[in-house]
Symmetry: C2
Subunit: 469 residues, 2 copies
Amino acid sequence: MPSSLQESSPPASATHRTDVVVIGAGLAGLTAARRLVAAGHSVVVLEARDRVGGRTLNHDLGDGQVVEAGGQFVGPTQNHVLALADELGIGTFPAYAEGASVYVHRGRATRYSGDIPPDLLALPDIGVTTARIARMSRQIPLHAPWEARHARRWDATTLDSWIRGTTLGRGGLDLLNSFLGSAYGATAADASLLFSLHYIAGMGAEGVPGTLDRGIGTKDGAQERRFTGGSQRLSSTMAEQLDGRVVLDSPVRAIEQDDRTVTVRTDSSAWTCRRAVVAVPPALAARIRFSPLLPPEQDALFARLAFGQLMKCEAVYDEPFWRAAGLSGQGVFRAGSTVCSMFDNSPPGGRPGVLMGFLGGRQWRAWAHRPAHERRGAVLRAFAQVVGPEALRPRNYFEQDWTAEEWTRGGPTAIAAPGVLTELGAWRDRPFGRIHWAGAEHADYWNGYMDGAVRSGKDTADTVIEQEG
Amino acid sequence: MPSSLQESSPPASATHRTDVVVIGAGLAGLTAARRLVAAGHSVVVLEARDRVGGRTLNHDLGDGQVVEAGGQFVGPTQNHVLALADELGIGTFPAYAEGASVYVHRGRATRYSGDIPPDLLALPDIGVTTARIARMSRQIPLHAPWEARHARRWDATTLDSWIRGTTLGRGGLDLLNSFLGSAYGATAADASLLFSLHYIAGMGAEGVPGTLDRGIGTKDGAQERRFTGGSQRLSSTMAEQLDGRVVLDSPVRAIEQDDRTVTVRTDSSAWTCRRAVVAVPPALAARIRFSPLLPPEQDALFARLAFGQLMKCEAVYDEPFWRAAGLSGQGVFRAGSTVCSMFDNSPPGGRPGVLMGFLGGRQWRAWAHRPAHERRGAVLRAFAQVVGPEALRPRNYFEQDWTAEEWTRGGPTAIAAPGVLTELGAWRDRPFGRIHWAGAEHADYWNGYMDGAVRSGKDTADTVIEQEG
């Protein structure tokens, strides 16, 4: 039989009161808080991390320069995050995309321009697939994809299965997987066709149908621009303006509610409020203890909206030497390489020069646990395939592994496996009593993107404001 | 700014010591504990519920009779749970399967014998599909399905997609989905083909290849027998013999470890031990706070090993009136009905008579939230289609909704979506430092079944015993 020891009692906890508690100080939570405060509500934002910004994170390069270690790109039709930046006085600048990009396949690097790599064998398949995806995604009711005429059929299969049935060769699928490595942190085999069509249908805005081209594109696409001072500045500026209402280092463990009140508990404090906005990724929301329990469908949905795996690897050089050689610094690697895709990630002035590569899904799994120096070597060799051997000697190199972060556990966004959307999707945004949901995964347009997070934060705040009168 | 109130401090917590803490008093955890105690280790089993047995649960019918509201069937090759029952002095009896079964399709009931419903249009497809599944499942290395030659291809598609590509009509798929409604709590659209082949390959024992027939079968199959006194008796007898070592009402919230010690925390106590065995479903294990964090792949895998949705509905009659009419009480309903399948679930003597129906997956979602009297009416009407209108007037009716249970959250078992096994499967049973895993989802043979739970509990205990010398 075990022996007993006495342990000191934990510190007494304090109970606070406010109108609304927002859980999570990422773009969605802070946008919601900002809007609620503007409508006259008292608000507290509880953040698990010791910083704001969620999946956006600035990395300090010294000399007042920063580079993004998390979400960073913004482009046309992402009007909500652009409008927020405008309000906050944060400008944008074009991501560097002059000159030729490079496509790497079987160790051979080929220069090209535009967004589609010059894989001659894959081009016909890419054309057919893109056209079919465009036609099918137009049939998706954005607010209820499970109501599409062929929803059940399209949700019973993976994107991979569908593409194999549409194409002749493997090139189209491999190239799509290069994009999905950074967009899903996974492959076409992990995602439902219906989910993918919905994701693409949302790459637009009201009156502007979403297209895959806009999603993968640099010019006129989702990778067109970046935020001056780094994307995390959106969140840190909002947090500053929220003036003491953001409480860091406060992971929320439990949320209780009755007909009139919600109680939000951290390890050391409790907050009672009229409504709560949970603005953390769904899979993390499902790990909060709710009392009463979440409806089983909502719990099952949130748990299934799992993140892919993603790491960003960045190398810093005195200058972006590739530009003089007529290269954009952009590279696309067909399956089997260390990185899925890479970009020139230099600050606006081009001093220093920065190359950034994504290790997503399979690449993450292949490399995340190898010794750091081996991974660094492999990433730099991949960079060198695109911009030449100078890439092997950066003055600095750093990584951000979102998958190892307790409060993200993957990235960049949640992807739905087959069955999830048709069976449980209707529960995604449904308030649970006085508890509301926000976040990039709760958006129809630009789901999983910064714009989706801002949209969702605004929409959820508006719902709370309407309910509270 | 919010106002502050003072809250009373929580009770001081006690710290206990033992060699091994087992988390979860289901079949796996109790089997592991029993084996560890026999090897001379001090053991404590922490159970979140106020009872032992996990997904097995006896329902008291009065007069000393019980019927199972959870896992209940046992059959040939399930040698580990049968051997455990033998050790505990718990007998088995044949599930009632005399007379004709009934197949219900488009409101029409057809009698048949054997395990395959007499759907003439579906039979050729069923024959071809069953033969191909048998051939493919023999290619699955049971301990490492991701190493099958076609693993990646088979894991990139759903079972649904593959069957549609193999069959001519819809009948075979519909019938398989009737089985999967109770086996997966889901449909063929939710599961990876590779996962399903592995699941089927495990429906056997060492030297006896698994077959789908054994899985769906009554005679000579997984539904052949039941435990005298109900399956929960296995757990309650083990708990009695563990004599005070099982602590109920103790949900584990956090597990910390260093090189030498593991600390397991409930809301009111802490246990330090040399090793811990986590014997709860993977998706619930992922909700425990681990420090250090679980490896990201293991966390991602556990979160993705989500349960289907399942409810059991049982009607009690003075006697099993259908037997006299030459009916087994077994019914299979093709897609679209209220229940997926039903069985005669009477106690050994046939007094009273009990009919049991599964609401799994789509049926659960269609009915779980309807008013109880509507659901009862619909279930009884389904029963009446199989055994006649007498079914409409039971003397008692009860339900067990596993999906609404905080400590199960679905049922009967975890199913893997495409991509999960090939990408993350190798992490399923890997100990995390001094933390080990057990449960029906950690078994290769009879994964998700009581036999898998017992096997896994034994295997994990043996690993711990070996490590501790």
